[in-house]
Amino acid sequence: MEPQKDKIQENVLDKIRSSEVNMRPKFYHNLKVVLLVVVVFAILIISSLLFSFIIFTVKVSGHLFLIGFGERGLVAFFLLFPWKYLLVDILLIIALEWTLKQFRFGYRSPLAYLLAGIFIITVLAGILINALHLHEALLNQADKRDLPFMGDEYEHLRRPPPEQGVVTGVVEDASGTSFTLQSAGMFGTSTMLWEVVLPPGVTIGSLDRGDEVLVAGDVQGNMIKAYGLKKIDPIPEVYPAASTTMK
């Protein structure tokens, strides 16, 4: 054996004998594994919650209808899509993938399969969370100003800021080529009346007083020159006053 090598062995053994170098207890390694598992589940839960929130956002805000409003609607949909949440969710999925790589099944799986697996689990969990109406409950709590976090985010879903060019509200009065729309401000503390000018070629048709609609258009003061209009399902507890119809 080379003297240099003998020296290394002796150095290491001396350090071990003098307790300068010690074995880490089994508990330490087990704790590391437990922490990793906790991190995996925590990221998975947060990621699924976020994904379900994105689905809920698109559904509740009515932004999905914008796709049917032609080119301008499509642009508006992409501008209003909650990209920041999607970006955070993608980062969480990447973090989860990296954490899973610490385990044998993780690093032995090809990246695409592992990411696909994580994505499918996140989507399924997201759909399940939506089916449990968790976000509806949080939204109603936000309405009552009873939500300690993300209250504004939930309120923006129900009552998007008008400067975004998309307003949801209740039809107050409809005649000819325009109608009056009542929308509520943040947390329902105030209401606004809008004069909505219908898109060219569109008539009032079957719009009744009390109908809830989503209007996309150019906002000028209290007037909205609409390029798209869609009757939407009423959101519970939002506009309790609007109950009579124009007949």
Partner: protein, 192 residues
């Protein structure tokens, strides 16, 4: 003393160390010192502190001994620690990023590990590795060392490098091709 324990496997020695027999760690070091020196010398070709790095590998091995699962083989486990330590040592001296994203880890690749091909290629590859290794990137260099010099299987290399088993096969093939290109560039033949 070494003769008395010659019949004990690495895994049996590791269990004894886990149970508190510190001296048995000396036997494990004796078994792996030459291998780790060879692995380190080839992988860290430009490093002059190889002794310090190998010593660090042994210290880390001892510190983490209780995390070793004796149902698994000891060899890939200690090579994994060595790989991490060597990569850290390379990072300290390299200017650019050591490993780029490996696109071969994205999808699965067919695994074709043939012992007969290994036998046939090993002598030739060992000679080639001796001459042309320095010109290769670190990830190609390392996989050639682990397969042809350290004689680790695809599965063990996958555990050492933390990559899918299929990636080991494809990376090894690319590394061999790259080494042959280096030989052509240098105007060498396999016999030289």
């Amino acid at each position: 003393m070494n003769e008395i324990h010659a019949d004990l496997t690495d895994e049996q020695l590791a269990i004894l160390v886990q149970q508190g027999d510190k001296e048995k760690f000396g036997l494990l070091m004796a078994r792996y010192e030459s291998k780790l020196f060879r692995y380190g010398r080839k992988f860290l070709s430009n490093q002059d502190n190889i002794e310090d790095v190998v010593q660090e590998v042994f210290i880390k091995t001892y510190q983490n001994m209780k995390s070793f699962d004796a149902a698994q083989r000891f060899s890939p486990w200690i090579y994994r620690i060595a790989h991490n330590t060597f990569v850290n040592a390379l990072r300290k001296t390299s200017r650019g990023p050591l490993y780029f994203f490996d696109f071969d880890t994205i999808i699965s690749h067919p695994i074709y590990e043939d012992p007969a091909v290994f036998e046939r290629e090993q002598v030739e590859m060992k000679k080639m590795i001796d001459r042309g290794l320095e010109k290769l990137s670190s990830n190609y260099r390392e996989i050639l060392i682990l397969y042809y010099l350290e004689e680790q299987s695809y599965k063990e290399i996958a555990d050492i490098l933390h990559v899918p088993i299929g990636t080991v096969g494809i990376r090894l093939k690319r590394a061999k091709d790259a080494l042959k290109k280096v030989y052509q560039k240098l105007g060498l033949t396999h016999e030289q």
